[in-house]
């Protein structure tokens, strides 16, 4: 349920870098974005589309080229560093190389905007740290040195540090970048839960399109410097925004599966008939190998090989008809592909 009052709101935003009097625009905008409480937003876009710049601008670390980012009606650039740090916390892509730091001390650093002059911690701070450690599920790691952590563990530790910062908005820049698949899924699920249970607004940038589609409440899709699509992920699939954003000669977005596939230059048509799980995977394999799958097996419509998916003794079987009386049978996709490749098309 989106909160009526957004946590962060941008107006006429244009992002980019200024250096030596020169402006480099990364996202032209003007962008009107909102981060609301309890929302998990995934920022998607091709490499170099300006995801990190947009995140840093929203976090107030970078001045916008035009427009403003406001929190509670106040421009984040006007906030003192401490006030800003109490509004937005960040998990960045850079690795922290401080080997003598323990996990607990690192998480405790999240209390920076609250702790005293010398960094002394009061009971409130300690409670917040304990909660963050628990929320990120890193209780077992609390006394470990940073240098001993795996990528997945260290990402969770950095998340705990951001949680200890106790901010309404949490931003993560490509948090899943170096993780293996199970860790990615676990982290995404954790973020999804956090957004809903703690009512934080969580914004993360990622390449994990398929994961994002599953957990995001909202997707911001940066197509290029000019265009940002926003909306529920499913809406963006249906209105073709994804296809457009990642449009490329050899990349194909399959609306049915929500996946991308590599598209070969000289696609060869095949006809395919079949249903169920095996059919889904067959289609995938054909696409991967550069075949253009014509969905309906309208016989004789095109001079193309026809593949039929059958079932034989509970196992899938494939029949390939590549001529008037040339019918072959296969018991694996690999065998099918091997012969398909040799057909003169």
């Amino acid at each position: 349920m989106p909160d009526p009052l957004p946590l962060l709101q941008t107006r006429d935003l244009q992002t980019g870098y200024r250096s030596g009097g020169r402006k480099t625009i990364t996202t032209k905008g003007p962008l009107a974005l909102e981060v609301s409480a309890g929302q998990l937003i995934c920022l998607l876009g091709p490499n170099g589309a300006g995801k990190s710049t947009l995140l840093k601008t929203l976090a107030g670390l970078l001045a916008p080229l035009e427009g403003s980012v406001k929190s509670d009606g106040i421009d984040v650039r006007q906030l003192t560093p401490i006030q800003r740090a109490r509004t937005v916390s960040l998990v960045l892509t850079e690795r922290v190389g401080t080997h003598q730091l323990t996990v607990y001390s690192l998480v405790a650093l999240g209390r920076y905007p609250y702790s005293g002059w010398m960094g002394g911690l009061d009971p409130t701070d300690r409670t917040a740290i304990e909660w963050a450690i628990e929320a990120a599920g890193i209780q077992a790691l609390r006394d470990r040195k940073l240098s001993t952590l795996s990528d997945g563990e260290s990402q969770k530790v950095m998340l705990a540090r951001a949680l200890a910062q106790d901010t309404p908005v949490l931003m993560l820049d490509e948090p899943t970048a170096h993780l293996d698949l199970p860790s990615r899924i676990r982290l995404m699920r954790l973020l999804h839960q956090l957004a809903h249970q703690t009512n934080k607004g969580i914004l993360l940038s990622t390449h994990e399109l398929e994961l994002a589609l599953q957990v995001a409440d909202e997707v911001w899709l940066l197509q290029n410097a000019e265009t940002l699509h926003r909306g529920a992920p499913e809406d963006l699939v249906l209105n073709g925004a994804f296809e457009e954003a990642f449009a490329h000669e050899d990349i194909h977005f399959d609306k049915q599966t929500g996946t991308f596939s590599i598209q070969h230059d000289n696609r060869k048509p095949v006809l395919f008939a079949g249903e169920g799980l095996a059919a889904w995977w067959t289609r995938r394999a054909l696409q991967r190998n550069g075949f253009f799958v014509v969905p309906s097996p309208a016989a004789g419509a095109e001079p193309a090989p026809l593949i039929r998916l059958m079932e034989k003794g509970g196992q899938p079987h494939w029949l390939l008809e590549s001529g008037a009386n040339d019918i072959r049978e296969f018991d694996s996709i690999a065998a099918l592909l091997a012969i398909l490749d040799q057909l003169p098309l």
Partner: protein, 346 residues
């Protein structure tokens, strides 16, 4: 390793340090009975005026200088390693000591007129103040330059190279200056350049002490900022650190420390880079609230022991302290780092 709280370790070190201090005052080329040393120290009277002179005017200020230089150089090295996020940073590597030397050279060689030089010499104590200020400013200037340039680079190694280059440029400028100055003026500069712990008198100790203590207090108060900077500037900013202010405070403190000590003792290398590593290894922490005082203690201990070694009985000559710090400290650092197997241990 059994868990001993940092406080207990600090206390233990403090005790060791006291012993080292007393040992440093007790040994020397001239044999003075221990009882007499203590008598002179605590009641300021002695049956032998020469002994009194040696203990009060030579050994005591030298030991105090060792304490101040040990604290200052180590903490300055610690600050730089954190600020530049580079385990190899230290005042001499990054050209900060060269900057201090430049400051001193400017005062000593400026104008090229012998009159200026005589004026400074005759100033005595206030001359020391002038040279201290010049050294601190020179150190600060170079540090700001290194930092400005390093702001454009994310790569630690590149930044280190830039620091070394700036240091070389500074050294070259001094050399050119020397080349075109009268030997009379160079001589004073050379005298300073080879300075040692023993060159500081009780009066100068007051100046050196107050500047060093000011720098140390600033360093300790900036512990929290230094902790945040451990995570890199972006994280530090996201946690509410004001990077400009933090840099200013850290640079001020580091320049005061490295500058004043270089002004009085000449460039002492090695301590700044080694002690922070030793301290992190011994205390197994990255928290500057502990590291700053711990670096003070270990740096002091190292310099005191080196000074004791430099004047072992029967030794009438004065080996430059630089030689001994490197000879004794370098193997320790190498051993510790080998055990750690990872150089990025800042």
């Amino acid at each position: 390793m059994p868990v001993i709280s940092p406080t207990v370790r600090l206390a233990g070190l403090l005790l060791l340090l006291l012993l080292a201090f007393l040992l440093d005052i007790s040994v020397g080329s001239v044999k003075i009975p221990l009882g007499d040393v203590f008598h002179i120290l605590f009641s300021s009277s002695s049956k032998d005026d020469t002994w009194k002179f040696i203990v009060e005017k030579i050994r005591f200020p030298k030991a105090c200088t060792a304490v101040l230089a040990g604290c200052g150089l180590s903490v300055s090295g610690l600050q730089m390693q954190t600020l530049f996020r580079n385990p190899l940073a230290d005042p001499s590597v990054l050209g900060i000591t060269a900057g201090a030397s430049l400051g001193v050279a400017m005062v000593m060689l400026a104008g090229g007129s012998i009159a200026t030089l005589f004026a400074i010499r005759e100033l005595g104590l206030s001359g020391s103040v002038l040279i201290t200020v010049a050294a601190c400013l020179g150190a600060g200037l170079i540090m700001v330059m290194v930092l400005l340039l390093s702001g454009r680079l994310r790569d630690n190694v590149l930044m280190l190279i830039i620091g070394i280059m700036i240091g070389s440029i500074t050294t070259s400028i001094i050399s050119i200056w020397q080349y075109f100055s009268a030997p009379e003026e160079i001589k004073d500069y050379l005298l300073w350049l080879f300075g040692s712990l023993g060159g500081v008198t009780n009066g100068q100790l007051l100046i050196l002490g107050s500047v060093t203590i000011l720098g140390l207090i600033m360093a300790w108060l900036s512990s929290k900022m230094l902790d945040a900077l451990l995570l890199g500037e972006n994280y530090a900013r996201s946690m509410g650190l004001n990077p400009q202010r933090a840099r200013l405070i850290i640079i001020c403190s580091s320049s005061l420390l490295a500058g004043s000590i270089t002004a009085f003792c000449g460039p002492i290398g090695f301590v700044g880079i080694a002690v922070p590593h030793i301290t992190r290894q011994l205390f197994r922490t990255s928290s500057h609230r502990i590291l700053v005082p711990a670096c003070c203690l270990i740096g002091t201990l190292l310099l005191l022991l080196c000074d004791v070694l430099s004047q072992l009985p029967g030794n009438q000559t004065a080996l430059p302290i630089n030689i001994i710090t490197a000879l004794t400290g370098a193997p320790v650092v190498i051993a510790l780092l080998l055990r750690q197997k990872n150089i990025n241990a800042y």
